[in-house]
Amino acid sequence: MRRAQYREGDAAQGQGAGLNRFGGANVLIVEDDFIVAFEMQNLLEEQGANVLGPAATLEEARQILASERPELAVLDVNLNGEFVFPLVSDLQQQRIPFLFTTAYADDDRLFPESMQSAPRIAKPVMANVLIAQLKRMLDRD
């Protein structure tokens, strides 16, 4: 038995509505594909988030982290052949909740032991799934 998950922020409803679900929360986006990053930025800004980045490399992400403090982070796993995992320890130190967006979502072997429990969202990312997950993480804080 499979129950439809009730998720807020259905794309059709959220579209262009200018809802302020995230109340200006800082969300760091780390994503090497500019188109995907741009669309995600649009989506989150529509929901009232303040997007940091998007950072395309680990270096850029670290520079942002040096000056800003995001409340949430959305991390692409593979940044042009470079894994995002080294950044995770920085985030964990600063207690910033994060989630992975990746085409590897179902491949557990790829993820280090300490990051197995972090939420993963499969690419292509469904808007309502991403928003609902981020909202949960924000509310938990």
Partner: protein
């Protein structure tokens, strides 16, 4: 590189075997010869001892003859002595021989009884001796009666004659025996020589055979030793080859393993890129959706994005199979249905029930099956229920034993034939199209999308060698519902790894 031929292996020599046979023959010959020699020696020895026995017998005969001769001579002398002295003591030898001569003759007869000529001579001697004793008796009577001259006359005449005859006969006997003795001694000597010659010959023969056997044995041992050495060489070479081959195989296995790992990592990489590219396409569609103002265009773009999502959901499960060639149907369809459920409008009124058997299917079919299922379920969500209406959609993928696998999507919404009864004339030209309409979406564009969905369902079903068979679900509820059953004749089921 892989050597399988055995042609260059050293062949084992066979002359060792031949040597072995010769050796056996030689030993057998030696034993046979020894046996023959022993028999021959025994025979010759017996002959020799018989010859010796005969020599001894002849000597005995000669002694008996000589004894008889002596006794007679003594009797003669005694008789003369008596005649001269009349002393009775002189007669003693005479009396002794007179009483015992028959016994002596018998003994002689016994000794010569195998030789008739000699026996005849002894038999002739006996009456002469008896006659002689008669004459002596007569002489002695004359002497007692005082006729000394008569006695002396008789003694000189008949006595002498008889005595001469006796001596002649005894001499004759003795001469014969002497000749016999010489002959027998000669034959015994000959036999002894023969015996010695035989022994010598046999000794030489045995020595030759022993020498031959020794040589054969040496050759045999040499051959065995050489064979052993060759075998050892051969084994060494074989071991070397086995070692080389094992190493070669290990190298191949390692290479194959490396290749497999490389292929796997490449495939994982490609799958990842496909996922990212699908994300890119999805993002493009989302951006376009944001850009258009027309509601119908927006709906069309949403539908397109939903289809891309279905492809991506199915694709996501492809890399999980142990061998990349197979994938579990329940995992693929589970991912597709999860993503559809995640995109459902809030309120949670529509349940999607998934009854998919964990069939191992060819990875090639996975995306098509995911798309087909997605279209059927989305179609049911859109058209079976009114907005805000509760409903249930059941997805079944099953492979009945001995039958054809099938996909079945059913809902408890408004039945498609009820729609037909209500008369929607414009759609009758497309028998396969699911032309149900829910009450609130009569717009032309929405119908076009429904038509497109039905076409996609039709095409993918045909790809699997089936077609959608529609029937009412009729599960006793208020509404008849719809059941769409598609037999997947060409769905390739794989052996689980």
């Amino acid at each position: 590189m892989i050597r399988t031929e055995a042609g260059d292996m050293p062949s084992l020599p066979t002359h060792a075997l031949r040597n072995n046979r010769i050796l056996l023959a030689a030993v057998a010959m030696s034993f046979l010869l020894l046996l023959c020699s022993a028999a021959l020696m025994l025979y010759v020895a017996r002959q020799g001892s018989q010859a010796d026995l005969q020599v001894v017998q002849t000597i005995e005969i000669k002694r008996a003859i000589s004894e008889l001769s002596n006794s007679m001579a003594n009797a003669e002398s005694g008789q003369r002595g008596y005649l001269l002295t009349h002393d009775d003591a002189f007669l003693e030898p005479y009396r002794r021989i007179r009483d015992t001569f028959e016994q002596k003759i018998r003994r002689l007869r016994t000794l010569v009884e195998s030789r008739p000529a000699q026996l005849a001579r002894v038999d002739e001697l006996a009456p002469v001796l008896a006659g002689r004793f008669g004459v002596i008796e007569q002489i002695l009577q004359f002497a007692e009666q005082g006729h000394g001259d008569q006695a002396a006359l008789l003694m000189r005449t008949r006595g002498r004659l008889l005595m001469d005859e006796i001596l002649a006969r005894i001499d004759d006997l003795d001469a014969v025996e002497s000749r016999e003795l010489i002959q027998r001694q000669r034959s015994a000597a000959t036999l002894r020589n023969q015996f010695i010659a035989t022994v010598m010959f046999m000794l030489v023969a045995c020595a030759a055979l022993a020498l031959f056997s020794l040589i054969s044995l040496r050759r045999y041992v040499n051959a065995i030793e050489q064979n052993r050495l060759r075998l050892a060489d051969y084994n060494l070479e074989l071991e070397q080859r086995v070692l080389e081959r094992t190493q070669e195989l290990a190298r191949y296995a390692q290479e194959a393993d490396r290749e497999r790992q490389r292929a796997e990592s490449l495939l994982t990489d490609v799958n990842h890129r496909v996922g990212n590219n699908l994300a890119l396409v999805s993002s493009f569609l989302a951006m376009q959706r944001r850009a258009v103002k027309n509601q119908f265009a927006a709906q069309a773009l949403d539908a397109a994005r939903m289809r891309v999502q279905a492809v991506a959901s199915a694709h996501r499960k492809l890399r999980l199979g142990a061998d990349f060639a197979t994938v579990k149907a329940n995992e693929v369809l589970g991912a597709v249905l999860d993503d559809i459920a995640a995109g459902l409008p809030p309120g949670g009124l529509i349940r999607i029930e998934c009854q998919v058997e964990p069939l191992d299917i060819n990875a090639r079919d996975a995306v098509s099956l995911g798309v087909l299922t997605s279209e059927l379920v989305v179609n049911a969500i859109k058209h079976a229920f009114c907005p805000g209406e509760a409903g249930e959609i059941q997805v079944v993928l099953s492979h009945p034993a001995g039958g054809v696998p099938y996909l079945e999507v059913s809902d408890n919404g408004v039945g498609w034939h009820e729609k037909e009864l209500h008369g929607d004339g414009g759609r009758s030209g497309e028998p396969h199209a699911d032309d149900r309409q829910d009450a609130q979406s009569q717009d032309v564009e929405g119908q076009d999308d429904a038509g497109l969905g039905a076409k996609i369902i039709d095409m993918v079903a045909r790809q699997f060698g089936g077609y959608p068979q529609r029937s009412p679900r009729d599960d006793g509820g208020g509404r008849s519902g719809t059941r769409i059953h598609i037999e997947l004749v060409r769905l390739q089921l794989m052996q689980p790894v």
